[in-house]
Amino acid sequence: MSATLLTPSTLESQWTLPSRGRVGMFCLIAAESAIFIIFVVAYLFYIGKSVSGPMPRDVLVLPIFATICLLSSSITIHLALSALTREQPGAFRLWWFVTFALGAIFLMETGIEWHHLIYDKGLTIRTNLFGTTYYSLVGLHASHVIVGLVLLLTVLMFSLVGRVSTEHKERLDVLSYYWHFVDAVWVVVFFVVYILGR
């Protein structure tokens, strides 16, 4: 009987394929990117087409502080994971917490901005095309931030009871891809809404 089937071979030890977690997360990011692209296209298409109501340049203020917070959180999550590799659980927890906090600050700033837009400027999702597309795009991004924060918080809680160690590095890497994706989307949204759209 030929030895081509059903025998463990030396080949097996050299047979390495990409990790499922990474590939799975890239697939998810691809799908999410497609959703965001459609919302961005709608936003771009409707720039200047509102029939009435407040226009972007009348009401939008560049959210510089919030942006700095969110983009820095990409750096801090990277620092956290480096600390984990070097087996420094304390540093890991610290940087992980800072990441979470920066994300939470971003979300809070978005909330403050929206409160201002709704109550002071009279811009709601039903006011005009700008309102519809703005709240939808920024809201879609914010919902992804919320999901990310929930995941970050879960990991934080596990690490506080000492259940996170170097063996989880790969899974946390995969989680960080999601977080980096959320930050990258913000770069695009910021550019489209606050720079191009105004």
Binding site: P8, A34, T132, S136
Partner: protein
């Protein structure tokens, strides 16, 4: 060496209470069971969708018929299209893929078994939600109404102004939910095929079915998302007062069309590429030759995957885009026909010089080849923009896409059913009844869909609950309706054959077709763990190598 002796012999196990059986199926994460669940879900919806079609065809058998009201007819064509695409074709494609891919690549299961199960249940729930509309569509105001906006739900017909009540919301939400399930399934397909192949199985040695499911999975990730995004926008319009598609506020009806068809066109390739996969596995075995031009088949499939994202506006040639845009999309649509045609030639090349066996699976594959050829050619006709200005929105288009979905995809699926039924159930189906199903269905299919092209050429638009006499449409509508009953008879024979064979068919053994890919090395049905030891392969056809050690399969 067979693995039969290693597998548990199910016949000797003590019978379990039915509640335990149901529980094990509901909580399963085994890809084979999830695959079968998807297939069963699809079969149930196939029957429902078929009834909806039959109702429509009876209404259209003569002009000015009063079989159903216009409102009900409009719900029928909406539900028929939505059901068939999202709750028959997608699940059945995921079902076969789920069952076969891990077995064919020598893996234990899919990459994410629990996500796999979750995706199936989301799809099932989405279907249930859609059908809840029949009793819940008008909300509090008495009996419900199913959505009646057409399966592509053009704006602003779907706006709250023109779609009163909640019927459209059932459409939106049911599909949103099942769409998330589809994305979960796609993530699984891609991760499994990339990360879980057995040693020795390089990408160039995977069965073509695995390649095609990889391309399909990658496409689903990018294709369902535009629909999801558009439906979220529609939900924002309907529930939160948004204006995405509100033409009175400056919104654009055409933007919905773009978003929908950016989903809609690649979606039909998502459905047909797995059909190509079945043909590519079945035809070689019944021709006794390897697939002709494996690398070209892979390249053509990947090419189709890419180009199919650039053709969507051929559904919008009548919308008033400028002549440059129209010509661009005509070009891309014709271009995508080239790799598609190459595949047809390669399948014929596989048969050429072989020793053809006309068992039921092969009969369906041969019919596929004839019918897909015709479907592709009517597609080329539709790609010609000026011709499209006459044909679009008419029964010619309805005939064309049913030719693809029924004549090509469903026929390939029937072939797959008969081919892998012995593997999934351990039993052989009855060959004579299989052939009876084939001939009944071929006659019915051609009666209905060949002659359906003609009313389109004579000016009959689609989605009309009745039509005027004296325009030359009556005789063709009559013939189309008659064909439905042959198809229904075929389906009855099909279901009866499979049901009876499940209970008392001849035992199939692990390899009834003398085939060459890894799934045929397991018992029928395979054990839960698939392979006692992870196989190692040295070619595309490991079982051929085992059976013909003097003439091993080449990696050409």
């Amino acid at each position: 060496m067979s693995t039969d002796s290693i597998a548990l012999n199910a016949v000797n196990a003590a019978p379990r209470p039915w509640s335990a059986v149901v529980h094990s199926w509901v909580t399963t994460v085994d890809h084979k069971r999830i695959g079968i669940l998807y297939i069963l879900l699809a079969l149930v919806f196939l029957v429902i969708g078929g009834i909806e079609a039959t109702i429509m065809r009876i209404q259209l058998i003569v002009p000015h018929n009063h079989f159903v009201s216009p409102q009900f007819f409009n719900q029928m064509f909406t539900m028929h299209g939505t059901t068939m695409i999202f709750f028959v074709a997608m699940p059945i494609v995921f079902g076969f893929g789920n069952y076969l891919v891990p077995l064919m690549i020598g893996a234990r299961d899919m990459a994410f078994p629990r996500v796999n199960a979750w995706s199936f249940w989301l799809t099932a729930f989405g279907g249930a939600l859609l059908y809840l509309s029949f009793i819940g569509g008008y909300g509090l105001y008495g009996a419900g109404a199913a959505p009646d906006v057409g399966w592509f739900a053009y704006a602003p017909l779907t706006s709250p102004t023109f779609s009163v009540g909640h019927s459209t919301d059932f459409w939106t939400l049911g599909l949103l939910v099942s769409g998330i399930g589809s994305i979960g399934a796609a993530v699984n397909f891609v991760a499994t095929i990339i990360c879980m192949r057995c040693p020795g199985m390089t990408l160039g040695r995977m069965p073509l079915l695995a390649w095609m499911n990889l391309v399909m999975g990658a496409m689903v990730l990018l294709v369902i998302s535009p629909l999801t995004a558009a439906q979220i926008m529609l939900a924002i319009d309907r529930f939160l007062g948004g204006h995405f598609f509100d033409t009175q506020a400056g919104g654009s009806a055409v933007l919905w069309m773009h978003f929908f068809w950016i989903f809609g066109h690649p979606e039909v390739y998502v459905l047909v590429i797995p059909a190509f996969a079945f043909i590519s596995e079945i035809v070689p075995v019944f021709s006794r030759k390897p697939i002709f031009g494996y690398p070209v088949m892979v390249a053509a499939t990947v090419g189709i995957g890419f180009v199919s994202f650039g053709v969507w506006a051929h559904h919008m040639f009548t919308v008033g885009m400028n002549s440059y845009a129209n010509s661009f999309f005509a070009l891309t649509t014709m271009v995508v026909g080239v790799p598609t045609g190459i595949k047809i030639f390669n399948w014929i090349g596989t048969m050429w010089g072989g020793r053809l066996q006309f068992k039921t699976p092969m009969l369906f594959c041969i019919a596929f080849l004839f019918q897909f050829l015709i479907a592709g050619l009517t597609g080329i006709m539709l790609a010609c923009v000026p011709f499209n200005w006459q044909l679009s929105g008419s029964y010619f288009v309805v005939a064309h896409f049913h030719y693809v979905i029924v004549g090509a995809i469903l026929f390939a699926l029937f072939g797959a059913f008969y081919y892998w039924f012995p593997k999934m159930s351990g039993r052989m189906y009855n060959e004579s009844f299989g052939k009876l199903h084939f001939w009944l269905f071929v006659i019915g299919f051609h009666l209905t869909f060949d002659f359906m092209h003609i009313p389109g050429l004579l000016g009959m638009p689609r989605r009309i609950y009745t039509y005027e006499p004296g325009r030359g449409w009556e005789i063709w509508n009559l013939i189309c309706t008659i064909g439905v009953f042959f198809q229904a008879a075929g389906i009855l024979v099909f279901v009866a054959n499979l049901a009876r064979s499940l209970l008392s068919g001849k035992l199939a053994g692990s390899d009834p077709w003398d085939a060459w890919t890894l799934e045929w090395s397991t018992s029928s049905p395979p054990p839960e763990y698939n392979f006692a030891q992870t196989p190692t392969v040295a070619s595309r056809r490991p079982l051929w190598d085992l059976k013909h050690p003097e003439d091993p399969d080449l990696d050409l």
